[in-house]
């Protein structure tokens, strides 16, 4: 294509970042909760690979550690926690109606990605680093699409995955801009993320036990009746 020659690490990083965007689109478009979790795993794996590639490219050792922590926390630990904390009948559920139908959601997610690209372009053109120009717009796009997913979904677990996807997007942008971020800050964020998943999963389980459903719209009023199965 019509651009400067990229090194192998930068070219592979470009591919990983493009697939991260496709994974975020997929999370908006998937009805099954299991599918959303799988796409989140794929997105986190690609973000970790981007961290590893950037660490190789800039010769920053911290990014290797961050990539490995991301794999351990988000690819392995969080899906395991969610799978254990949620009973099977929530996990295999699919979301029948959403706020917008799926083609409209996809077009909105595309518009958010284009808006992120436009917003970031003054910053990106001011930087000479190739990696900043790739990671920063897509990181912001993933953040916005995660926020949209948080708003537009009705089931609790995709909303939770939306928060985690926002964190993925922020991480993706952050590793390109500030590669020498102290390791301790990123470890704190990683543990934070596991805690969110654990608490979210346990709360969802409890809500399901009490209310019989995890659909957020049905929990908008206080209920004082005693439910038959208690």
């Amino acid at each position: 294509m019509a651009h400067a020659q990229l090194s192998i690490a930068e070219a592979l990083n470009a591919l990983c970042v493009a697939l991260v965007l496709i994974a975020s689109f997929g999370m908006v478009a998937t009805r099954q909760i299991q599918g959303v979790v799988r796409l989140f795993v794929i997105q986190s794996l690609l973000v970790a690979m981007s961290a590893l590639l950037l660490g190789y490219d800039h010769q920053v050792f911290d990014l290797y550690a961050l990539g490995i922590i991301t794999i351990l926390a988000k690819v392995i630990a969080i899906p395991w926690v969610l799978r254990r904390a949620l009973p099977r009948d929530i996990y295999i559920r699919r979301e029948i109606d959403q706020v917008l139908n799926i083609p409209s959601s996809l077009l909105l997610a595309l518009a958010l990605a284009i808006a992120a690209e436009i917003v970031v372009s003054p910053l990106a053109s001011a930087s000479v680093e190739v990696d900043v120009r790739m990671n920063l717009p897509i990181g912001l796009a993933c953040l916005l699409i995660g926020a949209y997913s948080l708003i537009a979904r009705r089931e609790a677990v995709p909303q939770l995955i939306g928060i985690l996807a926002m964190e993925n997007g922020a991480f993706l942008a952050g590793i390109a801009i500030a590669s020498e971020l102290p390791l301790i800050a990123e470890i704190a964020v990683a543990i934070d993320v596991i805690l969110i998943a654990l608490i979210g999963g346990l709360l969802t389980w409890n809500i399901n036990q009490t209310m019989g459903t995890t659909e957020a719209a049905s929990m908008s009023e206080l209920k004082e009746t005693i439910l038959p199965w208690h």
Partner: protein
């Protein structure tokens, strides 16, 4: 000049002769994956032979549209064959007659007449299948347009031969994000236009569920043979565009001698065989989509192609 015209005729013969074989190998491999024996790979040839030797029955209620459609469905994919690189690397005699937009126009002209002929007969299943085919068609058009714009913008030309030379300029360009995303989008487009799973079941006989197969329902004898053959050629043409222009423009003849062009034939057949294996894996592992989910499938293809366009027009994503 006469040499390139002869090579063009050779291309037409290649598409005409090998389209039924392509369909036969695909159905045989699909059956083998399901642990069944499946029909012989030459069965489509026998079917065409049988249909050509049968009498044609034409309803008295139909008009000239019904009579002309099989011939159009057979000839129009051949027109597109003259525009795309099938065997050679360099433009042939008729290559500048039209560009990819003309190719898309010819294919939709064939689809348009097929839909009109299906409505012409008055059979209740014909218009039902025809309206569904048009729904898939108009949802697939934006994807085709965006793919076409992207490759033409990057290659600075709309002629498929020139796009083929410039698109995958080096092995490293193969892994660029725009290329991979465009491949995914175009593959989803071929699955939709060719009536394969997950959009449509090509082996189904249930008229209520037919989308693409319904265009051949009312024809008999020679008309049915031409519609079947035309459908197989259309899918082979789309596959050649996908393989030779976008995915893997290798194996095409670069020399001008007859021997070079003839030795390119086994390489192209090998590429098509590898693509058939990928198709069989896709078709055997997915289920047919419900009708109104097809718009989600093609909507996803659309935004993947727009992302590919952004990735290639604004360099470095």
């Amino acid at each position: 000049m006469t040499q390139t015209i002869a090579y063009n005729v050779l291309q037409l013969l290649f598409v005409m002769v090998f389209a039924p074989l392509y369909a036969g190998v695909l159905s045989r491999l699909k059956e083998m994956v399901q642990s069944r024996r499946g029909p012989s790979i030459f069965q489509p040839y026998r079917d065409l032979w049988k249909l050509f030797h049968k009498d044609e029955i034409v309803s008295s209620e139909t008009t000239w549209i019904y009579r002309i459609t099989p011939y159009l469905a057979f000839i129009l994919p051949l027109f597109v064959t003259t525009l795309i690189p099938v065997l050679t690397d360099y433009p042939l005699a008729f290559a500048f007659m039209g560009d990819m937009l003309a190719g898309g126009f010819f294919l939709s002209l064939a689809g348009f007449f097929a839909v009109l002929a299906a409505v012409d007969t008055g059979n209740p299943y014909g218009p039902m299948g025809a309206s569904r085919t048009r729904m898939v068609g108009f949802l697939a058009e934006p994807v085709f347009m965006i793919v076409f714009f992207t490759v033409s913008f990057v290659a600075q030309s709309t002629i498929p031969y020139i796009v083929q030379q410039k698109w995958v300029a080096s092995a490293a360009a193969f892994f660029s994000p725009a290329h991979i995303l465009l491949l995914i989008a175009f593959l989803m487009l071929i699955l939709a236009e060719g009536g394969k799973i997950p959009v449509d079941n090509p082996a189904g006989h249930f008229e209520l569920a037919m989308i693409d197969e319904s265009k051949g329902l009312e024809f008999s004898g020679r008309g049915a043979a031409l519609m079947k053959w035309g459908g197989q050629m259309k899918f082979l043409v789309l596959t050649c565009i996908f393989l030779n222009v976008l995915l893997a423009p290798w194996g095409l003849a670069s020399g001008h001698a007859l021997l070079d062009v003839v030795t390119a034939v086994p390489w192209i057949l090998l590429k098509i065989l590898l693509f058939v294996i990928v198709l069989v894996v896709i078709e055997s592992s997915l289920a047919k989509l419900r009708l109104f989910r097809i718009s989600e499938f093609l909507g996803a293809a659309f935004i993947i192609s727009v992302t590919a366009m952004i990735a290639s027009i604004f360099p470095l994503v």
